[in-house]
C-alpha cells in the first residue's frame, strides 16, 4: 500500500469525521441541555443544503450560500423549537421520537413539494477547486482540505464558546441543573431556543458544505443523522469532546475499512469473494466499532451519565 494512498484515505476519513462532528455536536448539545432526542436534526441538515443550493444558484456566491444555509437552518430550528419541540421537554423519549419523526415526514415531503424530486447541485467555489500538493508530494483536493480546516475551527470555536463565554456557562449550568439556573433568573426557555438554533445552524452548515461534494436531495439528512447517533453513542451523550473523538473515529473507521478490508480478506479468500465479503464487512465496520465500545463502556468514551 503506497504511503500517498494511505495519507489520502486518512485525510478523507478526517474530512468525513469533522463533518459528522458538526451534526453530532448539535445533537449532543440539545440532548445534554434539554434532554431531547431530535430525529429531525437530519432535516435541518437538508434545509441547510437546499438553502445553500438555492442561494448559490441565484447569486453565484459560495460564502453567501453558506451564510444562507446557517441562517435558514437556525431559523427553521428556532421556529420548530417554538412551535413543537418545547412541548416535548417534559415528555418521555417515545413522544420525542414520534413527534420528531413526524417533523421529518413534514420537512421531507414539504421540500419535495417545493423543489421536486430531482437532486440539486452545489458547485465548489472556484478558489477551492483543484488539488493542492501537500508535503511529501501528496495531491489532495483543496476543497476537502478546507472542509477539514473549517470543521476543526468550528470544533475549537464551540469549545471556546462552551468554556469561555457567558452563554457557555449558562449551557453548562443548564446541563447540570435547569431548575437552579431558572431560579437564578436565567430565561431558560430562551436559552433552550438559542441552543436549539445553534445546533440547527451547525447542521445546516454541514449540509451546505457536504452538499457541494454530494448531490443536494430529499432524504440526504437521515443517513448522516444515524451516523451522528453512532458517534454520540461512542463518544458519550452530552459531551462535545466525546462527539469530536467519536466523529473522527467513525470517519476513519468507515473510510479506511472500505479501502483496506477487501485487501485484508484477499489474504485468505479468492479475489471475487474477498471483494464481496470485504465490502459487506466494511459496510458494518462502524457498527461493530459501536458494539465494541458498548461492551467496553456502555455510556460511551466520555459519557458520565446513562
Amino acid at each position: 500500500m503506497p504511503l500517498a494512498l494511505l495519507a489520502e484515505q486518512v485525510l478523507n476519513g478526517l474530512q468525513f469525521g469533522v463533518m459528522l462532528f458538526l451534526m453530532a455536536a448539535g445533537l449532543t448539545l440539545i440532548f445534554g441541555v434539554m434532554g431531547l432526542i431530535n430525529l429531525a436534526h437530519g432535516s435541518l441538515y437538508m434545509v441547510g443544503a437546499f438553502a445553500a443550493a438555492a442561494v448559490a444558484g441565484a447569486t453565484g456566491s459560495f460564502l453567501l450560500a453558506l451564510a444562507a444555509a446557517m441562517t435558514a437552518a437556525a431559523l427553521a430550528g428556532a421556529l420548530v423549537e417554538l412551535l413543537v419541540i418545547r412541548r416535548l421537554y417534559a415528555r418521555d423519549h417515545l413522544d420525542q421520537v414520534l413527534a420528531t419523526f413526524a417533523l421529518i415526514l413534514i420537512f421531507s415531503e414539504g421540500t419535495r413539494w417545493l423543489f421536486g424530486s430531482f437532486p440539486l447541485y452545489l458547485d465548489i467555489p472556484a478558489a477551492l477547486k483543484g488539488p493542492v500538493t501537500l508535503p511529501g508530494g501528496i495531491e489532495y483536493p483543496r476543497y476537502r482540505l478546507a472542509l477539514i480546516g473549517i470543521g476543526l475551527a468550528v470544533a475549537l470555536g464551540l469549545g471556546l464558546l462552551i468554556t469561555r463565554t457567558r452563554l457557555g456557562i449558562r449551557i453548562r449550568a443548564g446541563e447540570n441543573d435547569r431548575e437552579m439556573i431558572a431560579a437564578l433568573g436565567v430565561d431558560i426557555s430562551r436559552l433552550y431556543t438559542v441552543v436549539f438554533a445553534l445546533g440547527a445552524g451547525l447542521a445546516g452548515l454541514a449540509g451546505a458544505l457536504v452538499g457541494a461534494i454530494q448531490s443536494v436531495q430529499v432524504g440526504m439528512g437521515e443517513p448522516v443523522l444515524i451516523l451522528a447517533f453512532v458517534v454520540i453513542v461512542i463518544g458519550g451523550i452530552g459531551s462535545i469532546r466525546g462527539a469530536l473523538v467519536g466523529a473522527i473515529l467513525v470517519g476513519l473507521t468507515d473510510t479506511l475499512g472500505g479501502v483496506f478490508l477487501p485487501g485484508f480478506f484477499r489474504l485468505f479468500l479468492d479475489p471475487a469473494s474477498a471483494a464481496s465479503v470485504g465490502a459487506s464487512v466494511a459496510s458494518m465496520a462502524i457498527y461493530i466499532l459501536m458494539a465494541a465500545v458498548l461492551i467496553w463502556r456502555p455510556t460511551g468514551l466520555y459519557g458520565a451519565r446513562a
Binding site: F31, I37, V84, R87, H93, L94, D95, V97, L98, A99, F101, A102, L103, I104, L105, I106, S108, E109, G110, R112, W113, E222, P223, I226, F229, V230, I232, V233, I237, S276, A279, S280, A282, S283, M284, Y287, M290, A291, L294, I295, P298, T299, A306
Partner: protein, 325 residues
C-alpha cells in the same frame, strides 16, 4: 369494557371484509386489506417490546427485513433448483410457507437476541439510537450483499404454497394472514395475563421493585425483545410473500419508523392498538395517496397532533384513558 367491544368490532370487520369487498366488486381491496393485516402483525410484534416492555426500539425493520429475506433466499433457491449449501450437508430451498415461517421466526429471534443483548446494556435514549444504528447496519449489509440481489432485491415468480390452500387466490391468502394474526393476538392476550407478562409490566414501571423480589428486569426485557422480533420477522416473511419481492427497503429506518407509527396511531400496550393503527394507516395511504403524492405531509401532521394532544391513539380515544385489561 369499551376496549373489549372495540376489539370485537375490529375483529368482525376484518373477518367480514372480503365478503363486503367481493359484494361491492372491488377485489383489489382484498390485497390492500392483506397489507393491513400483515403490517398489523409486524406492529403487534413491536407492541410487545414497546407497549408492555417499554423498550423504544427504532430498529424493528431489521427483523421485518430478516423475515423477508428468509422467504426471498429460500424461495429463490427453490425456484432456481440450487441448494443453499452443499457442505457439511445439502440444504435445499423451499416454497413451503410453514417451513419459511419457521426459518423466518428463528432467524429474526436470533438477530433480536444479539441486538437485544448489546442494546439492553444501556437504556433510554441510548437504546433508541443503538437499535436504530443496528437496523441501519443490516440495511447496508443487505445492500452490499450482491449474492442476494444487493440494492435491487430479490423477486419471486410465484407466491409460496400452504398445504390445502391456493395462496394465489387473494381471499385465501388474506384468510391465511388473518388466521396468523388472530393466533398471535391470542398468544399476546395470554402472554400479558401470564406471570411473565405481569413481571414484564412491572419491570417497565419499576425495575428496582422487580429486582427486589428476585427477578432480573434485563432478562425479562430481553425475552420480550426476542419474542417481539420473532413476531415482526414472521410478518416480514408474509409481507415479502404478498409482494413476491424483498429488497433492502424492508430494512430501512423509514420502515422502523412506520411500524412504530402503527403502534402509536392505534395505541401502545393495547391488544388491538396495532391492528387499529395498521388499518388507519393503510386507509390513509390509499385515500390521501390518491389525493396527493405528498401525503406524508398529512401523515406527519396527523402524527404530530396525536403525539401532542391525543396520547393513547385511536383505541385510547374510543376506549377512554387507561382502564385497561
Amino acid at each position: 369494557m369499551r376496549e373489549t367491544l372495540t376489539n370485537l368490532v375490529l375483529l368482525i370487520a376484518l373477518v367480514a371484509f372480503p365478503a363486503w369487498a367481493l359484494a361491492v366488486d372491488e377485489p383489489f381491496l382484498i390485497t390492500l386489506a392483506t397489507r393491513a393485516v400483515i403490517l398489523a402483525l409486524a406492529a403487534v410484534g413491536l407492541n410487545i417490546a414497546l407497549g408492555w416492555g417499554g423498550l423504544v426500539s427504532l430498529g424493528h425493520a431489521a427483523f421485518f427485513g430478516i423475515g423477508g429475506y428468509a422467504m426471498g433466499i429460500l424461495a429463490s433457491h427453490a425456484q432456481g433448483y440450487t441448494p443453499l449449501t452443499e457442505w457439511p450437508f445439502v440444504i435445499e430451498g423451499t416454497k413451503s410457507m410453514p417451513v419459511i415461517w419457521l426459518v423466518a421466526v428463528a432467524a429474526s429471534a436470533l438477530a433480536a437476541l444479539g441486538i437485544g443483548v448489546l442494546s439492553l446494556r444501556t437504556a433510554g435514549v441510548y437504546f433508541i439510537m443503538i437499535t436504530l444504528a443496528f437496523g441501519q447496519m443490516l440495511y447496508y449489509f443487505a445492500i452490499s450483499w450482491t449474492a442476494y440481489g444487493g440494492e435491487d432485491g430479490l423477486s419471486i415468480y410465484v407466491r409460496n404454497g400452504f398445504p390445502g390452500l391456493n395462496t394465489l387466490v387473494p381471499v385465501q391468502f388474506y384468510g391465511l394472514c388473518l388466521a396468523v394474526l388472530i393466533l398471535v393476538l391470542a398468544l399476546n392476550a395470554a402472554l400479558i395475563r401470564s406471570p411473565f407478562g405481569l413481571a414484564l409490566n412491572a419491570a417497565r414501571q419499576s425495575p428496582e421493585r422487580v429486582r427486589t423480589v428476585g427477578l432480573d428486569p434485563r432478562r425479562l426485557q430481553l425475552a420480550a425483545f426476542v419474542l417481539s422480533g420473532a413476531i415482526t420477522g414472521l410478518a416480514g416473511a408474509l409481507f415479502a410473500d404478498l409482494n413476491r419481492f424483498v429488497s433492502p427497503s424492508m430494512l430501512s429506518w423509514q420502515m422502523s419508523g412506520e411500524i412504530m407509527v402503527l403502534v402509536i396511531l392505534g395505541g401502545a400496550a393495547r391488544l388491538f392498538g396495532p391492528v387499529a393503527g395498521a388499518i388507519l394507516f393503510v386507509v390513509l395511504e390509499h385515500v390521501l395517496g390518491g389525493i396527493s403524492d405528498y401525503w406524508h405531509v398529512f401523515l406527519g401532521a396527523l402524527l404530530l397532533l396525536i403525539v401532542l394532544f391525543a396520547r393513547g391513539g385511536i383505541v385510547g380515544l374510543i376506549a377512554g384513558r387507561r382502564g385497561g385489561p
